[in-house]
């Protein structure tokens, strides 16, 4: 006989730990514990059986994995937190005694923790990190727009703004923005970085106030982690793109509210030698036998040079918005034409299908959607949003000085093709000839046009979005779930159906107008359909005759009706059979089935209500058109 198993010595009782037990074990305060959990990404778990995990108690508690807590116990940050506690005491004492110098030296040697190791632990590979920056970006963009107060320090806001600008610069530089959605909450952007879709939400430019029921400490702790994470991610992204990180900031421009334009993207120097060496290696290879290592190296070098070349080749507006043009990049190309020789044809003529051109082809169309156009932002449009979008898709954009400094051109520039304007159409009286001419040549579009073009992946007709027009609905590029109502596809099918229904209605109306006895006839037909035996059918026939329906039509109608009834009956029978078969399901299966059915039904209802509403709206529209 084996040893008796004691309760609470193995299994869930050992694997889980309540929060209070965890706090006790770590010998820290609850606030510190929360902080650690946020930083280390430790979250509560749901045990299969709460009672077993909590020594038979069913009190509502949060459970953590005991191993997670054991792992927290060795955390350097926890040690630093303890040191900080001691430091706080020392400082309080020094201040209380009025020992200012010792307080100052204490303050200078305040324990500070670093989060590098946590970043590495939580995201062992770079792709892991990129996959998880959504929330970080949302927070950074939010805090970049917050007013600083006692809780949110100005340096924090500044750092967030810097990180946000760096991210936007990178996205613009690599043309990796894919989708944009103007929602009531803010602007959703989706970019594709390292094959990972990164979605972030940027609030509209209004002053946000932190509500009182929000714990700012929690947000700041998250922000601490996110700042570090984004710093490392951006470092890697920038260095991989051959850029210097952090990009130097032009403070003068920054003071002039140049936004992202205040940063200078600099090419990292050591990138060039790599390219040349790679090329020379290729040359060597021609005569030699190629080892796998060589091949790998060449591939690596090619890809490295490729990424470098691509961004150089693109007519982007990254480097310095103040004096940047396409020429600058042409210069760049001419500087060392040998290095970039393969890149230039890849962009200008697609005659040679090199690896680089192949890799750029699929996205070249939409990535440089706005490359041929030059935009001018009207004063009332949001500059950060549209500057980012247009530049991400290769366009040039200018703005009036009221929207900030650093516009590459002014309003009178001849190259402007589109004006993004968001105000009602007003007839101008005193317009000079020149202005009129200019107005004629430019296209005035509402901001939604830019976003819809981006989402459609092509340049849409500007007429629908012209100034002062009622805009077509703006749809989410992310789409809804599979069974959801589709506002675009629904239009056609619904219309047909509707027509049918309407026709029927109209017919009925006509009939009722023609014959007063139409209603009894209908009821007679119904009776015929319902008649199960000959006697009932006969009775129905008699009734029909009395109603004045001639026999031929009655026969036809009766048959049709019976057929229909039979079909319906068969369907009902099948349904009943299925219902009966449900009796034989096990309890578990039945519950699962019911849950699934519930979900399906709910979605279908949602869809139906939307379709109904749509139908009603369409009808209303038609009526209005007819009446007018």
């Amino acid at each position: 006989m084996g040893r008796l198993k004691q309760k609470g010595k193995a299994g869930a009782a050992k694997a889980y730990m309540t929060r209070s037990a965890a706090v006790k074990k770590l010998q820290c305060s609850l606030a510190d514990f929360r902080r650690l959990c946020i930083l280390k990404g430790i979250f509560p778990r749901e045990p299969r059986n709460r009672k077993k995990a909590n020594k038979g108690s069913s009190a509502p508690t949060n459970f953590y994995y005991a191993k997670d807590i054991a792992y927290l116990a060795h955390e350097p940050v926890l040690r630093k937190l303890r040191e900080h506690k001691a430091f706080a005491k020392k400082l309080a004492r020094a201040l209380g005694r009025g020992e200012w110098s010792s307080a100052k030296s204490l303050e200078d040697n305040k324990p500070v923790y670093r989060l590098d190791h946590i970043i590495k632990e939580r995201y062992p590979t770079f792709v892991d990190a990129v996959r998880d920056i959504d929330d970080a970006l949302c927070m950074i963009f939010l805090f970049a727009s917050l007013p600083s107060d006692s809780k949110v320090s100005p340096s924090l806001v500044e750092n967030c703004a810097r990180l946000a600008a760096e991210w936007q610069l990178y996205v613009m530089h690599t043309h990796s923005l894919r989708k944009v959605f103007l929602s009531i909450k803010g602007v959703y952007y989706q970019a594709e970085v390292f094959d990972q879709t990164v979605t972030w939400l940027v609030p509209y430019q209004f002053t946000q106030t932190i509500p009182t029921d929000v714990d700012v400490r929690v947000m700041l702790t998250f922000l601490e982690l996110y700042q570090t994470l984004l710093g490392f991610v951006f470092f890697k992204l920038y260095t991989d793109a051959g850029l210097v990180y952090p990009p130097p900031l032009d403070t003068q421009k920054d003071d002039g509210a140049a936004g992202v334009g205040a940063f200078n993207l600099q090419e990292a120097k050591p990138n060039r030698p790599v390219v040349t060496s790679a090329r020379s290696k290729v040359v060597e290879v021609d005569g030699k036998r190629i080892s796998s290592k060589d091949v790998r190296q060449t591939i690596k070098s090619i890809s490295a040079s490729g990424s470098g070349d691509v961004d150089v080749a693109m007519p982007s507006v990254d480097a310095d918005p103040a004096n940047e043009d396409d020429e600058e990049f042409v210069e760049d190309n001419t500087e060392d034409p040998e290095d970039h020789a393969p890149a230039a044809p890849a962009y200008t003529t697609a005659t040679l299908p090199t690896l680089k051109t192949l890799s750029t082809i699929p996205r070249s169309t939409s990535a440089k959607l706005f490359a041929p156009y030059t935009f001018w932002l009207s004063r009332e449009t949001s500059r950060p949003i549209f500057e980012f979008i247009v530049r991400s898709f290769g366009g040039r954009i200018g703005w009036p000085a009221t929207s900030g400094s650093g516009s590459p051109f002014d309003e009178n520039d001849e190259s402007i093709t589109h004006v993004i304007i968001d105000r009602p159409l007003v007839q101008r009286q005193n317009e000079s000839e020149e202005e009129k001419e200019r107005r004629r040549r430019r296209k005035y579009v509402q901001p939604q046009w830019v976003v819809d073009c981006v989402n459609a992946g092509k340049i849409l007709l500007e007429d629908l979005y012209a100034q002062g027009k009622t805009l077509p609905p703006h749809l989410s590029p992310f789409g809804d779930h599979a069974e959801a109502y589709d506002p675009t596809a629904g239009l056609v099918g619904v219309e047909e159906e509707e027509d049918e229904v309407e026709e029927m209605e109209q017919e009925g109306a006509e009939v009722s107008e023609e014959e007063g006895a139409a209603r009894p006839a209908k009821s007679v037909l119904k009776a015929a359909a319902a008649a199960e035996d000959d006697a009932a059918l006969h009775a129905a026939e008699v009734a029909a005759e009395a109603a004045g329906v001639d026999y031929g039509t009655f026969e036809k109608e009766a048959k049709k009706a019976q057929k229909k009834a039979k079909k319906a009956e068969a369907a009902a029978e099948e349904e009943a059979e299925r219902d009966m078969n449900k009796m034989m399901m096990s309890n578990k299966q039945r519950k699962l089935y019911e849950r699934m059915k519930y979900g399906q039904k709910k979605r279908a209802e949602e869809r139906q209500t939307l379709e109904q509403k749509k139908r009603a709206i369409e009808k209303e529209k038609k009526r209005r058109i007819q009446s007018s």
């Binding site: 929360r34 946020i38 430790i42 509560p44 778990r45 749901e46 040697n109 305040k110 500070v112 590098d116 590495k120 995201y123 062992p124 892991d128 990190a129 959504d134 929330d135 949302c138 927070m139 939010l142 103007l182 009531i184 909450k185 803010g186 959703y188 979605t199 609030p203 509209y204 209004f206 946000q208 929000v214 714990d215 998250f222 700042q227 570090t228 710093g231 490392f232 470092f235 968001d422 105000r423 805009l471 609905p473 703006h474 989410s476 992310f478 789409g479 109502y485 299925r578 009966m580 078969n581 449900k582 399901m585 299966q589 089935y593 399906q600 939307l610 379709e611 509403k613 749509k614 709206i617």
Partner: protein
């Protein structure tokens, strides 16, 4: 101390030189050697003061008595010292007194001072030392020579040892305590005496010894000659004694005055580091708290899986657009409903809104709140990984053969026999399938034909009918009716002659069987065959009285045994018609018996209590097994004609199918009725069974049982028969199959008895 002593000694010596004018003894054995050894010309020439003397005289302290060389030495020095003798006279005078006292205290052997014949100067002569092995001993004069042995060896002897000549040293007389005391009184010295172990007697301490004791007591140095306040001896630094010549000829090293090169190097290292900025003096450690970024992902990724990424928030749909299609805008009702619900219960955290232009879109007021909630979700919400099922829910429904392929089974109500709006609880179909008896709560029992429903006969009893049951025998024809505490056996009318006589013979034989040995409380009373008619029961059994009539009657398949179940303990009776004998098979049953049942083939007997079904072997009178259906209250039970399967229905809407050979637990539990089950019945020949419920419906099942043990029984729901009305929450009380036909007879609380045909 040594120096001090020697000084003292030298003083003494000088004193004695003055005092004693004794002739010098003959020279010692080896004066030359000593003189050679000690005689230092330099010192002698140099040492022209007292201290020099002292230094020279250091040796006598060590071996004072063994040497006689002092004399020689002195004599050597005499010439040198003679000059100074005059000078020292004053000193000697002073020390005279102390010397006198010192003499007595001196431990050393006393020297004699004589005047040397050679020099004419006085000199000290110490007593001769005999150079034998004991020459050094201070205990020479002790008479007892036993040595250092435990003296108790002599305890029993009259002597305490031997003297040097081998004569016994007699034990001195020692007085008793009184003598001791007297001695202390009489002898003033007795307190200064101590017991001498060797001599076994008290010996007075000498003055020196007492002095030592006194010094020890006072914490002084025990040596009387020790002078702690001696003036310093200035050997080299005194006046005129300054050292003018260097002790070493080595030149002074450079390091004494040149600054250290190595120190300078070390300092310079630090200085350089500070200049280059490697070391920041007073650098605040926290000033540079901007995180430094580096290529953290360049080195190898650790093996092992990455922590699972946090679930991403759902992407926004069309409804969230600033300019959504119009159909997404909420109607006033929807808006009101949304506003009425709590924020946590809302399906969407926002209401779709439409703005005609982007510039009109305001700030979203819950932006920060939503971000915060997302973060709370990230670190406070328990996460469970769930596999998302990608299956069609319809695939969960088991695939069963279509009911149409399993015909025949009852599908419609062919006729209805009303019972004057009284609940009909009991029905029974005759074994030939022609007749039905139904009994209602007003005490009316009706006999009618199955096919046309024509009532043939009606009996009226005083109170409600608990059960009716046809005897399963085909050669005779009668049925049992349970009313009050009676069971009446009735012969239906219009029987063919032979059957009637056979029946009468069975129920009312000409010669009654002999009365049983131990008569039971059940009374059997019959009407003679000749007077019997179908109007009244031919045979009646009166059970022990109870409030309710027996609620169940069951015939054994051979038609001789009839079992009845009444309320209360001991309500189970088995009656044997042929012997007119009743017996209660159970003295005591756990729980109240709900139902009983005879096994169709074996002498087994099922007893259903409220929760369990027990299976007894009547022949062996043993309990075979207890079935646990898991039903709270069993309402009905039937056994399959093969005898291997049992179905049990309960008031908690469950129906359990037991495979008796498989397990004590149900093979299948079905719950399909919406109200309590009232009755279940297996068709005797067709693979069908039916269940009726208080929801007014009857469910027909196809139940095929295979002889093969490996194949599970196939249960297919076939049809739900509806037609009985529900009265006061009661539906269909009883269902019975018509033997040999797939027809069903059902009795309901609405007072209808219906026949359902295929």
């Amino acid at each position: 101390m040594a120096a001090a002593e020697t000084k003292k000694l030298s003083k003494k010596r000088k004193a004695t030189q003055e005092e004693d004018e004794t002739p010098a003894p003959p020279p010692a054995a080896f004066p030359q050697e000593v003189g050679l050894e000690m005689g230092s010309e330099d010192e002698g020439a140099e040492g022209d003061d007292v201290s020099d003397d002292g230094e020279v005289d250091e040796f006598p302290e060590i071996d004072a008595r063994s040497d006689t060389e002092d004399e020689e030495e002195e004599s050597d020095d005499e010439s040198a010292e003679a000059v100074e003798v005059e000078d020292e006279e004053e000193v000697e005078d002073e020390s005279d007194d102390s010397d006198a006292s010192d003499e007595s205290l001196n431990v050393w052997p006393k020297p004699k001072t004589v005047v040397s014949d050679i020099t004419g100067q006085p000199k000290r002569i110490y007593p001769e030392i005999e150079p034998d092995y004991d020459s050094d001993s201070s205990t020479e004069d002790t008479p007892n020579r036993v040595g250092n042995i435990p003296m108790h060896w002599y305890d029993d002897l009259p002597h305490v040892g031997y003297d040097i000549n081998g004569k016994k040293v007699l034990r001195p007389a020692r007085g008793d305590e009184l003598d001791k005391f007297l001695k202390t009184v009489e002898d003033p010295d007795s307190w200064t005496s101590a017991f001498d172990k060797n001599l076994q007697m008290d010996k007075p301490l000498t003055a020196e010894e007492l002095d030592i004791i006194r010094r020890l007591q006072e914490g002084e140095n025990p040596d009387a000659n020790y002078d702690p306040y001696e003036p310093t001896v200035e050997w080299f630094t005194g006046k005129g004694k300054e050292e003018v010549m260097p002790l070493s000829a080595a030149p002074e090293p450079k390091r004494r005055w040149v600054p250290s090169k190595w120190e300078k190097q070390k300092v310079m290292k630090i200085v350089r580091a500070i200049r280059q900025g490697r070391i920041l003096p007073n650098k605040p450690k926290t000033a540079n708290n901007q995180p430094q970024f580096y290529a953290i992902w360049n080195d190898e990724a650790p093996t092992g899986p990455a922590p699972p990424p946090a679930p991403k928030p759902r992407l926004p749909g069309h409804a969230e657009s600033y300019n959504p299609p119009e159909e997404y805008l909420p109607t006033p009702e929807e808006r009101a409903k949304w506003e009425a619900t709590d924020p946590e219960d809302r399906e969407r955290e926002y209401l779709p809104q439409k703005y005609s232009a982007l510039r009109l879109v305001p700030a979203y007021e819950n932006f920060i709140k939503e971000r915060f909630n997302r973060q709370l979700d990230l670190y406070l919400a328990p996460r469970v990984q769930r596999v998302k099922l990608r299956i069609d829910p319809e695939s969960l429904i088991p695939k069963l053969p279509s009911p149409s392929s399993l015909r025949p089974f009852p599908v419609y109500k062919s006729l209805q026999v009303p019972h004057a709006d009284v609940r009909v609880r009991a029905i029974s179909v005759s074994p030939d399938g022609q007749w039905v008896v139904s009994g209602d709560e007003s005490g009316v029992v009706r006999l009618w034909e199955v096919i046309v429903g024509k009532e043939v006969k009606r009996w009226t009893f005083k109170s409600k009918v608990g059960a009716v049951e046809w005897c399963p025998r085909t050669d005779v024809s009668f049925f049992a009716v349970a009313v009050e505490d009676h069971i009446h056996l009735i012969i239906p009318p219009n029987l063919p002659g032979p059957v009637l006589t056979a029946t009468q013979h069975v129920l009312a034989p000409a010669s009654l069987p002999p009365a049983p040995a131990n008569p039971s409380p059940v009374k059997w009373s019959s009407v003679p065959a000749a007077q019997s008619s179908s109007d009244s029961p031919i045979l009646s059994l009166s059970l022990p009285s109870s409030a309710e009539p027996p609620k169940q009657l069951v015939w054994h398949r051979k038609g001789d045994y009839l079992s009845s179940v009444s309320e209360g303990q001991g309500g189970v009776w088995i009656h044997q018609v042929s012997r007119r004998h009743s017996q209660a098979p159970f003295k005591k049953v756990k729980g109240t018996v709900q139902l009983v049942l005879f096994h169709p083939t074996k002498p087994h007997f099922f007893v259903a209590t409220q929760r369990y079904v027990r299976m007894y072997n009547l022949a062996e009178q043993t309990l075979l097994k207890t079935l646990t259906p898991g039903i709270r209250w069993i309402s009905s039970m039937d056994v399959h004609p093969s005898g291997d399967h049992l179905i049990v229905g309960g008031y908690d809407r469950k129906l359990c199918w037991f495979d008796l050979e498989l397990s004590d637990k149900p093979y299948k539990i079905l719950r399909y009725h919406s109200r309590a089950l009232r009755s279940v019945h297996f068709h005797p020949t067709y693979p069908l069974f039916a269940s009726s419920s208080d929801d007014g419906s009857i469910q027909i099942f196809h139940a095929r049982v295979y002889n093969d043990l490996m194949t599970n029984p196939l249960i297919v729901p076939l049809k739900i028969l509806r037609g009985h009305a529900v009265r006061e929450g009661l539906g269909v009380f009883n269902v019975r199959w018509v033997p040999r036909q797939p027809w069903l007879v059902s009795a309901g609380a609405d007072g209808q008895v219906s026949v359902w045909c295929s």
